[in-house]
């Protein structure tokens, strides 16, 4: 099992707030890895550091052997790391299909873009296929802003896939959607994983994470607390403490545990 994506010793402070503190994370190739932790533990910040939206104060991020620590988001994206956002970010005033076409931009220079028409048949077909995969092909010509919340999540998933990334970071894919859709999303993740894609998923929905992921890392107060299979993590008392919070004495225990883990 090779490590495809890793973050080592990452720290980041925003003003007086230490969001990440010597955080480590490893994502095995071909796995579906979960990243969980109480609110404020630094999950999204870690995502931002990995994908280049935030520069870390310390630490390194490595993808497929390459150091991508301070790379810009578009560079990270073109290397094969895709991601979605907690609050879905789509281009609301263009059509669903056009949203998909934007993601194929990175392959060519802007000058050619000036002269090229907006899409080639190949790109449109590819886009429609992906839209069909997530189940919103019928909405292809609609303005993306008209989509419901769940459909936007599906769109975001679809256009992350357009560039055929090797690893996909999902930030709360199950957040705010109904049960049927959650199962649908989980199905699609499994299908893609079977086809060789690696996933790193941040989630609060425990059932979702535990049933889907083969590997889970728990974060707490900006650092990684426990790592293991879902069963191992579920059984670990430190995890429970982290989620329920504790008095000051507990905090010291946890810190020791983190240092020792």
């Amino acid at each position: 099992m090779t490590t495809l994506l890793s973050a080592t010793g990452v720290s980041k402070a925003f003003g007086g707030l230490q969001a990440l503190s010597m955080c480590n994370l490893e994502v095995e190739k071909g796995s579906i890895t979960g990243l969980i932790g109480p609110n404020g533990s630094g999950k999204t910040t870690l995502f931002n550091v990995i994908t280049g939206y935030v520069k870390p104060d310390a630490g390194t991020v490595t993808f497929d052997g390459q150091n991508i620590t301070n790379a810009r988001p578009d560079a990270v994206f073109s290397l094969g790391v895709g991601r979605t956002f907690q609050l879905t970010r789509i281009f609301s005033r263009i059509s669903v299909l056009e949203n998909m076409l934007i993601a194929t931009q990175h392959d060519e220079s802007w000058l050619r873009g000036l002269l090229r028409s907006k899409s080639s048949k190949v790109e449109v077909d590819n886009a429609m296929e992906l839209l069909d995969f997530v189940g919103i092909a019928r909405l292809a010509d609609l303005q993306a802003g008209a989509l419901s919340y769940g459909q936007r999540k599906l769109l975001e998933l679809a256009y992350v896939l357009v560039a055929d990334p090797d690893v996909i970071l999902l930030d709360e894919p199950a957040g705010g959607v109904n049960l049927t859709l959650i199962n649908g999303i989980a199905e699609k993740i499994r299908t893609l994983n079977a086809a060789g894609k690696t996933f790193l998923i941040v989630e609060h929905n425990m059932e979702f994470v535990m049933s889907l992921c083969d590997h889970v890392t728990v974060m707490h107060q900006g650092s990684n607390l426990v790592t293991g299979t879902p069963a191992e993590v579920r059984a670990n008392p430190l995890v429970l403490d982290a989620y329920l919070g504790g008095g000051d004495e507990d905090e010291d225990d946890l810190r020791e545990a983190v240092a020792g883990a």
Binding site: D74, I90, F91, I94, L101, H106, W110, L142, Q151, A163
Partner: protein, 338 residues
């Protein structure tokens, strides 16, 4: 069989083409000249500001540059007044583009709000430069070679030249909207950082769009100079110009194709008419301001979008489609994965 939409375009084109032939009163054809000039400027402005969402309030810089180019070259090249000067119109456009590139490079590095202010600042730099530099004639402006085509038909060539600019700007806008480049501009408008993250070369795209939009405005300025024969810095570098074309585009519909055309048509024609009818300039300011407020409050997306949504019942259709898909999706989710 021609689609209904195309019939409208054809009818409009015919109306515009025949206008100065049918209406011969120079008072009205003058209004016509200014109207087409503004239609071209608004369309070109919309091509960048409308599609990318970066509201530029300094396009008078390009207008004025074009005007001064026409004036200075006509004078210093000792050109004969008349149709040979039309060759300078594209030159005015090119000069405007030459200014636009560095301005765009500086101005587009900042956030949208700051961008607006920088464009205003650059505008004032140009206006003050035109007033204070010697070669621009200072506050007394410049006089171009006097054109002697005769009173009755004087306006016609200018009107048609302006119409050519309108057609050019419109075709360019259509081409941009259909291209990948145009799609990138639209993406930048909705979520610039996301577009950047997806690999769009945001800086290059913005600067290109900005520079391209300067071309037609520069040409319009050059045409204006040739038309009025005398230019003064405070008229070619006029803050009202900037806000007017922005207003026209918003009125018609920012980011649409027909919006700027319609907005410019309505506003410029009525503005010209009002200034002629009411010599009291202040009343026109009040009316303008009031009209603007009404439009912004009740039709914030502009007339074209408002009407189009009404006619096509867009919102209802979208809701229906979305709901239908929701209802259908359980089946797709469980069995549709490939």
């Amino acid at each position: 069989m021609l689609a209904k939409k195309n019939l409208w375009w054809l009818a409009a084109a015919a109306a515009f083409a025949l206008f100065p032939i049918v209406v011969t009163n120079p008072l009205y054809t003058t209004i016509g000249v200014f109207t087409v000039i503004y239609m071209a400027c608004a369309t070109s402005w919309n091509m960048f500001s409308g599609y990318s969402g970066y509201i530029a309030l300094g396009s008078a810089v390009f207008y004025g540059s074009g005007a001064y180019t026409m004036a200075l070259l006509s004078i210093h090249l000792h050109m004969a007044a008349g149709s040979s000067q039309f060759w300078l119109v594209p030159v005015g456009g090119l000069v405007a583009m030459a200014f636009a590139a560095p301005i765009g490079w500086v101005a587009l590095r900042v956030r949208r709000h700051t961008f607006v202010v920088i464009t205003i600042a650059v505008f004032f730099i140009f206006q003050l430069a035109a007033i204070n530099f010697g070669f621009t004639g200072g506050t007394s402006g410049l006089n171009l070679p006097f054109i002697t085509w005769g009173f009755q038909d004087f306006n016609k060539p200018f009107y048609y030249a302006g119409l050519v600019l309108v057609v050019f700007a419109t075709l360019l806008s259509i081409a941009v909207r259909r291209s990948r480049f145009g799609l990138q501009l639209l993406a930048i408008r909705d979520d610039e950082d996301r577009a950047l993250g997806l690999g769009v070369k945001v800086s290059a795209v913005k600067i290109t769009g900005f520079t391209m939009s300067a071309f037609t405005v520069g040409m319009a300025g050059a045409l204006y100079a040739m038309f009025v024969g005398q230019i003064y810095p405070q008229f070619v570098f006029d803050p009202m110009f900037d806000v007017s074309i922005a207003l026209m585009t918003f009125l018609g519909g920012l980011g649409t194709l027909t919006g700027p055309l319609l907005g410019a048509l309505i506003l410029e024609a009525s503005q010209q008419y009002l200034t002629v009818t009411f010599s009291n300039g202040s009343l026109y300011l009040i009316l303008f301001g009031a009209l603007f407020l009404i439009v912004i409050i009740f039709m914030p997306q502009g007339i074209v979008v408002y009407l189009r949504d009404r006619i096509t019942k867009r919102v209802e259709r979208e809701r229906a489609a979305v709901a239908a898909n929701e209802a259908a999706s359980p089946d797709v989710a469980l069995g549709g994965a490939r």
